[in-house]
Amino acid sequence: MDLSYTPEQQAFRAEVRAWLEAHVPAEPLEHFDATREGFEAHREWEGTLKSGDWGMVTWPKEYGGRGLDLIEWLIFEEEYYRAGAPGRVNQNGIFLLGPTLIEFGTPEQKQRFLPPMASGEEIWAQAWSEPQAGSDLAGVRATAVRDGDDYVLNGHKIWSSRAVFADWAFGLFREPGTERHKGMSLIFFPLDAPGVTVNAIRKINGHVGFAEIFLEDVRVPAFNRLGDEGQGWHICMATAGFERGLMLRSPARYQVAAAALAGLWQDHKQDADPVLEADVVRAFMNADAYALSIYQTASRLMAGAKIGPEASTNKIFWSELDIHLHQTALSILGPKAELVVQPGEHDWLDDYIFALAGPIYAGSNEIQRNIIAERMLGLPR
């Protein structure tokens, strides 16, 4: 155990910091889920990141990455959030599909899909859930029928984040006649392909950040299938492991928010309920605990371990700490909590509304608790 950064790691942090200070836009961009303009501004930012080779630092160099290790990734993320850099519009691609492609893809697939993912030229949405397959994802009904060198896709996908403006989606499809976990494949399709209809769904914050997708005889080459036919469930679970375990939510995100909360408290404590100080301290503890846990996980993975069911504990912890942190902020703001802020001000209210989605997406916290109970603790199904 050595909890200090090496001189190389410190130099790397300084390099990231200097680049971000020179490049992060002075004015915050419009949210990528709010409008097409906001989305495209974020795509442009992804291109700027790519120009400095910061698109996806952990990927191999030949696919647009820097081949860095997970501790360096954490340092990059810390500096990224510290700098207040724009949200990653391509997170479905770079954090979820990317690592899965690197593990399961053919060299040709990696060459085709990873570089434009790292540069933001192709932005990805996830197309897993269906109206009848949410928490019970094995209930997917959308089909993929093999026809020569192609698949013909049909079905109805829903709750696809970014799908309104994104270019590509990766979806779960089953061979007709198969049931549950068998017979599913993970297949990529362009969101502008003939037969694809995308309908925006308004979220409770008013944004159109997710969508339902209808597929009617959508033809894609078999090249777009990741892994073997019928291996889709296995691959999805690998993606979900990354999603819950490490990459989806950087600890830095919450450490920045906890530090801002401490500042909010200092500014308002004359007028606020004194008991709230304990919650401010609690928010700081939670964010730090999450960071320490992720450093521990990163160290273990670098020492050769694999992500297991304990990944589900992360998702519960960060989603609950996020809500607690933002509820505390709103309590400090008191009667001003409900007021919509001006552009440029810290938007505790919108961040609170966003935090409420945390226990739902990426597998509801109820499902995560089942996974912990069954696979970590060994309780019967």
């Binding site: 050595d2 909890l3 700081f284 503890m285 960071a291 320490l292 309780l379």
Partner: protein, 352 residues
């Protein structure tokens, strides 16, 4: 940056788990309670033989010269078996304090002897009557006295495997060892209480899991019901996010700065809250059985209660975290930051 235990540390933890698991079983707890006692000479002999009392002593005092992280691994296993002997207080807090003040002290030459410690934050002293000596505080000085040089009054506690005493004493009748580092004693004690909390919590969950697999209601094991699963999953989440804090606190304790103190305090609060959550969930999952003396879950609940309030209450420790949060930079690049001299000076001015 490396947040893993070394191979030696992992082996050490396994040794502690095996030794304590074999010598401090539910059967041992029951026999001790029948005797109205909290010690087992055979177990203590094995603990001593394996060097657990020498871990934190410097080599020049005949010890192993290892660190707080190594001892925290033992403390975690001590929590897992609700160890009744004062291994943690004696070998984790008192003996290293004595060694720092008087490295040649003859008491340190006897690895079987225990030393009790009366910290000003605690109104009572654990196992004071059997200790070869008691470390006492006055005006920042440490005094050493034998049990027959002080007045001990037994105090009843709800924890049936814990023996407590009030201590009255005269400085004239004790050995003045000079100014002592009572803050370090507190940091170590709080850290090892946290480590025990992890063990207490995990044992409470493990006991409940075993019961929930066996106990049938409505024709199925109760552990197959989500309401039961979710109690235990939530407790496990609390454990998983306390453990890295305890480990980091152990690794950083030697820095002695406001960040290190804050992390110890965080560890103490988080681990004992996890233990509180886990022990109460364990009793709930055991149902009426859990409320009976026959099921051992209550031992873990009671030890948790005792450790939560000793060596600094949650409010005391929260104030130390607030001191770090409100006087030092916070943010994602500050997770492992150390207090700068400038920051320390500012803090002194604020507190003066």
């Amino acid at each position: 940056m490396d947040f893993t235990l070394s191979d030696e540390q992992q082996m050490f933890a396994v040794t502690a788990r095996t030794l304590l698991g074999d010598t401090c079983t539910p059967d041992h707890w029951r026999k001790m309670m029948e005797r109205d006692d909290n010690t087992d000479p055979e177990r203590w002999a094995e603990i001593v033989e394996n060097g657990f009392t020498l871990v934190l002593l410097p080599e020049e005092a005949g010890g192993m010269g290892l660190g707080e992280l190594d001892f925290a691994l033992i403390a975690e296993e001590a929590g897992y078996v609700a160890l009744p002997e004062p291994l943690i207080e004696s070998a984790g807090v008192a003996a290293p304090m004595l060694a720092a003040l008087a490295p040649e002290h003859p008491l340190l030459a006897d690895p079987e002897a225990t030393i009790a410690v009366a910290h000003p934050l605690n109104p009572v002293v654990v196992d004071a009557d059997r200790a070869a000596a008691i470390l006492l505080e006055r005006d920042g000085h440490a005094f050493l006295a034998r049990a027959d040089q002080v007045r001990l009054t037994p105090v009843e506690t709800i924890d049936p495997l814990r023996r407590l005493f009030r201590v009255e004493w005269d400085a004239d009748n004790a050995e003045d060892l000079g100014l002592a580092d009572w803050d370090l004693a507190l940091d170590r004690a709080a850290l090892f209480a946290a480590a025990q909390g992890l063990g207490l919590a995990q044992r409470a969950v493990d006991m409940a899991v075993e019961y929930a697999k066996e106990r049938q209601q409505f024709g199925k094991p109760i552990g197959s019901y989500q309401a039961v699963k979710h109690h235990l999953a939530s407790a496990q989440v609390a454990i998983e996010f306390a453990r890295p804090v305890v480990r980091a606190a152990a690794a950083e304790i030697g820095h002695r700065d406001v960040q290190a103190r804050s992390r110890v305090s965080h560890a103490k609060i988080a681990a004992l809250e996890a233990a509180d959550k886990a022990t109460r969930a364990s009793i709930q999952v055991h149902g009426a059985m859990g409320y009976s003396w026959e099921v051992d879950a209550h031992l873990f609940l009671k030890r948790t209660l005792a450790l939560t309030q000793s060596w600094g209450t949650p409010a005391f420790h929260r104030a130390r975290i607030a001191a770090r949060l409100f006087t030092q930079p916070a943010g994602p690049d500050q997770t492992f930051a150390r207090e700068t001299h400038a920051a320390a000076a500012t803090r002194e001015i604020i507190h003066a």
